[in-house]
Amino acid sequence: MRRRAILVLLAFLALAGARAAGDEAFQREFDYATRTILCDCGCSPQSVHDCACGRAEEMRNEIAAAIREGKTGAQVVDGYVARYGEKIRVAPTASGFNLLAWLGPGVALLLGILASVLILRRWKRRSATEEAAAPVTPPAEDDPYVARLREQLKEYE
């Protein structure tokens, strides 16, 4: 009797566990799909997950139904892409030509930093040679008024 009770309890726990795991798997696949697919309400580019319009609610229900039927999130996304084309993804995949969008800005900025360092070093070299060549005294002002103004300006800096 007691053994049976334990068995029943264990079976119950196993079932509950499986259900929890199922819920978790559902949530994971559902999240993946809704965060990848674009809401086609035509407002701003927002994923089905984020968008607040009525259309997003319908699409969430569609996607939930598809996943309950046993599809994975990736399969649902593939289905949408097959039907509507690449543009139904909220962001382009990081492959092929799209890599330009994913990596281009980063590469450009790194090159920019490199270029800046080179420019700075050239400026430094140039001012070093200029300093060596030029006389130490500043160029004389021919107009005393202008000279005074320059002095004043310096004071305020």
């Binding site: 994923s47 962001a91 995949t93 030509f97 969008a101 700075l120 300006l153 305020y156």
Partner: protein, 742 residues
């Protein structure tokens, strides 16, 4: 009515006047004819007067419900509350253009008035540039998009898009336009300086406050727009990288770069070409922003108005940008740098990197925004650029920028020695490091496994995966870099106060006040930096630790989410102004203690063009205040009526919207929740049973964004206040220039 004709012809006369102003001032530059320039300035003022007249006439149209006017018909209705009738002026395309040109002409008048006795050599070209821009917009308003187009007489109007009926939406566009338009002034002075071969400091010293003013309004305009999106759109976020949002961010970024790099030109005579280029870029991007908002070339939530002004704008933009660029290239010899750089480790170079990153982010945003067109042209495939890619690609650079914000103020001009670096950076760097370590030890395993996953993604060349894995490090990096920046700012204040106390024997408070008051520009700038750090904190906290849930509930049920218990108490129906709605009443509890009662509403805005619906709605509305039961059932009957009409018409006869309910935790006694929002919005409500589906967001730290905005406003105000030192510098520069000409 006469006002329509008055407005229509007013715009035409304004066009003639501004066209003459452009021509006459251009002639004045050639002939140096004093009389011509005077005539040009007077006609630009006259143009302003007639634009004011036209705008007033359109407002009269709104206030008197003159639905013969197409524009009034589309953006107003009899039931529309008064403030929204006034604000409907910028609810659509042609009215927005009218507001744009109104602001620009007003600013032009101000420029002319303040420069009557100075900058005379620059003024003809300045007048010409302002005149040409005003003329362009007036051409559009007269011949392409007139706000005074008449239609048949109509009993009532369609009304403003319900999402625009919000306090912040009423002040956000004018604020943004003040920013966009304001950049025309520094642009005009830069062009004039180039054309007149006077590319010294004069042009930007004269326009320093104009630039700051425009930068400030563009920035606050953007923040107001975010706030509006947050409380109105109901998706729990404040920034969606919508093309039009991007369009406003880009000129703001280049303007920020300009505000910094101009300091190097002031102090060191370097980067002259770069500064002119930045002003040209900023103005072109402002025009581009208006073009994107108004042309509908990229579909977006902001395209509340779209039409056929695209080509005209494209041509104008091209002329402005390439014309200005050509002039700059022609004048390159004048812009030769007086530069000498003593060390790569100096404030000059830190500013150069700051500029690089700011312009780099602007360029990235531009590139990503226009990438769908590029992709379609090259591969024939349409792609969507949604928020994920913008966030992932931009965050690393934003963090680098945050780092530079800390470095810039503390590193010495010219050359930073090792001991100088140690003295200045030891404390802030330690602050940053402590925060980083602290956050690491809060969840060491998560970070270590994050590293592992990152390297695995990198090894398998999974680009999107690698970007995704980086996300877990961003909040910690943001908080630590933020602490570093706050440390540097704190150190600057501490040193300044200390110096004053030693020198003048002042108390801490007096020393602080005098320190800031005597160097408004510098310390205002630091305060702005603090605001930016707070905004970074808010963004990091609310995007990394956001929790959300969707729950269907009947009245009386309780739902728990992230330590909050929400009890759905009940609901009532309401017909107000121009909408009907179901108002849900929710009590919010924390640890069994009631902390707030919230009301979130699901609204329908009926289309008043259907007489049946209109009458039923007005009847229900008139019952308000009487017997509640009768009133409730009258409103409830509107729902089936709407469904019936929709089935008959085959299209929507109402526009839905939601009113979000927000509870902000601002108590200092719950520090972990400080700045957090509980954000509630109904997805749908059944008018019969009251069963509703709620979407709940818990947004930690989100209020730091708005605190940061407040601090930023404070700092910008400080920096723009009149400063005797700045005035002396300007007077001296003007005197120097006048002398050089004579």
């Amino acid at each position: 009515m006469l006002t329509v004709e008055l407005g229509y012809y007013g715009l035409f006369v304004a066009l003639l006047a501004s066209a003459w102003a452009s021509v006459a001032s251009l002639l004045a530059t050639v002939g140096r004819e004093r009389g011509l320039q005077q005539s040009a300035e007077r006609s630009l003022l006259a143009s302003f007067g007639f634009i004011v007249l036209a705008a007033l006439c359109l407002e009269v149209g709104f206030l008197t419900n003159d639905f013969r006017l197409d524009y009034v018909f589309h953006y107003s209705s009899i039931a529309q509350p008064l403030p929204y009738k006034i604000g409907a002026l910028w609810g659509g395309q042609s009215g927005s253009l009218l507001l744009w040109v109104l602001i620009l002409a007003g600013m032009s008048a101000l420029v002319l008035a303040t420069n009557r006795a100075k900058n005379r050599a620059l003024m003809p070209v300045v007048t010409a540039v302002l005149g040409v821009v005003v003329t362009f917009f007036l051409v559009l308003l007269n011949f392409v998009e007139s706000p005074f187009t008449l239609g048949p007489a109509r009993g009532d109007g369609v009304g403003l898009n319900p999402q625009l009926k919000n306090y912040w939406m009423m002040i956000h566009p004018p604020c943004l336009y003040l920013g966009y338009v304001g950049f025309t002034v520094p642009f005009a002075f830069a062009i004039s300086a180039l054309a007149n071969r006077r590319s010294g400091d004069l042009w930007f010293r004269t326009t320093r406050r104009w630039t700051l003013f425009s930068w400030f309004f563009l920035g606050t305009g953007i923040l107001m727009g975010s706030y509006w999106a947050y409380i109105e759109l109901g998706w729990g976020g404040y920034w969606a990288w919508d093309p039009v949002e991007n369009a406003s961010l880009m000129p703001w970024l280049t303007a920020t770069a300009f505000l910094h790099s101009v300091m190097i030109q002031e102090k060191k005579g370097m980067l002259k070409i770069w500064n002119v280029l930045l002003v040209i870029l900023t103005f072109s991007l402002s025009i581009f922003g208006t073009f994107l908002t108004r042309s509908g070339i990229i579909s977006s939530v902001h395209a509340f108005a779209t039409s056929n002004i695209g080509p005209a704008f494209g041509v104008f933009l091209g002329v402005v940008f390439f014309g200005a660029l050509a002039l700059m290239i022609l004048r390159l010899p004048d812009l030769r740098s007086e530069a000498r750089l003593e060390s790569v480790v100096s404030r000059e170079s830190s500013f150069l990197f700051n500029n690089l990153v700011l312009v780099g982010i602007a360029a990235t945003v531009l590139f990503l925004t226009t990438f769908p067109m590029l992709s379609e042209m090259t591969t024939g495939r349409k792609v969507t650029m949604g928020p994920p890619i913008f966030n992932l690609v931009n965050i690393p650079w934003a963090l680098f920028l945050l780092f530079l914000t800390g470095v810039g103020p503390l590193i010495a001009w010219r050359k930073a020695t090792a001991s100088h670096l140690r003295r200045n950076f030891l404390f802030p760097a330690a602050a940053g490091a402590w925060v980083l370590l602290g956050l690491f030890f809060l969840a060491p395993r998560a970070y270590l496994s994050g590293f592992g996953e990152l390297f695995r993604s990198l090894a398998s060349l999974d680009v999107a995966g690698a970007f995704e894995r980086l996300k877990i490090f961003y909040p910690a990096l943001t908080f630590s870099l933020g602490a570093f920046v706050l440390g540097t700012v704190g150190l600057e204040f501490k040193r300044g106060i200390h110096a004053r106390r030693v020198q003048h024997g002042e108390s801490v408070a007096t020393a602080l006040a005098r320190l800031v008051w005597r160097n408004k520009r510098r310390y205002g700038g630091y305060v702005v930096h603090v605001g930016i750090v707070l905004i970074f904190f808010g963004i990091a906290g609310s995007s990394a630790y956001k929790k959300e849930a969707v729950q269907e509930m009947s009245p009386g049920e309780v739902f728990e989410v992230d330590g909050y218990q929400m009890r759905y108490d009940g609901y009532h129906l309401d017909a107000m102004d121009d909408h009907l709605g179901a108002v849900t009443e929710v009590s919010l509890f924390q640890d069994g203690r009631r902390v707030a009662s919230l009301e979130a509403e699901q609204r329908f805005h009926p289309n008043m063009v259907f007489p049946e619906l209109r009458d039923a709605f007005l009847r229900a509305k008139s019952l308000s205040g009487g017997d509640p039961a009768v009133y409730q059932s009258a409103v409830a009957r509107l729902y089936p009526l709407i469904r019936e009409l929709e089935q008959g018409a085959g299209r929507e006869v109402k526009t839905p919207s939601t009113e979000v309910a927000i509870h902000a935790s601002l108590s200092p006694f719950a520090p972990t929740r400080f700045g957090e929002d509980f954000y509630l919005t109904p997805l749908w409500v059944d008018p019969q049973s009251g069963r509703a589906s709620f979407r709940v967001f818990v947004n930690p730290m989100v209020n730091f964004i708005w605190f940061g905005a407040f601090v930023l406003v404070l700092g910008a105000h400080l920096a723009v206040l009149p400063d005797p030192r700045e005035r002396k510098r300007l007077t001296a520069t003007i005197a120097l220039e006048e002398r050089a000409v004579a």
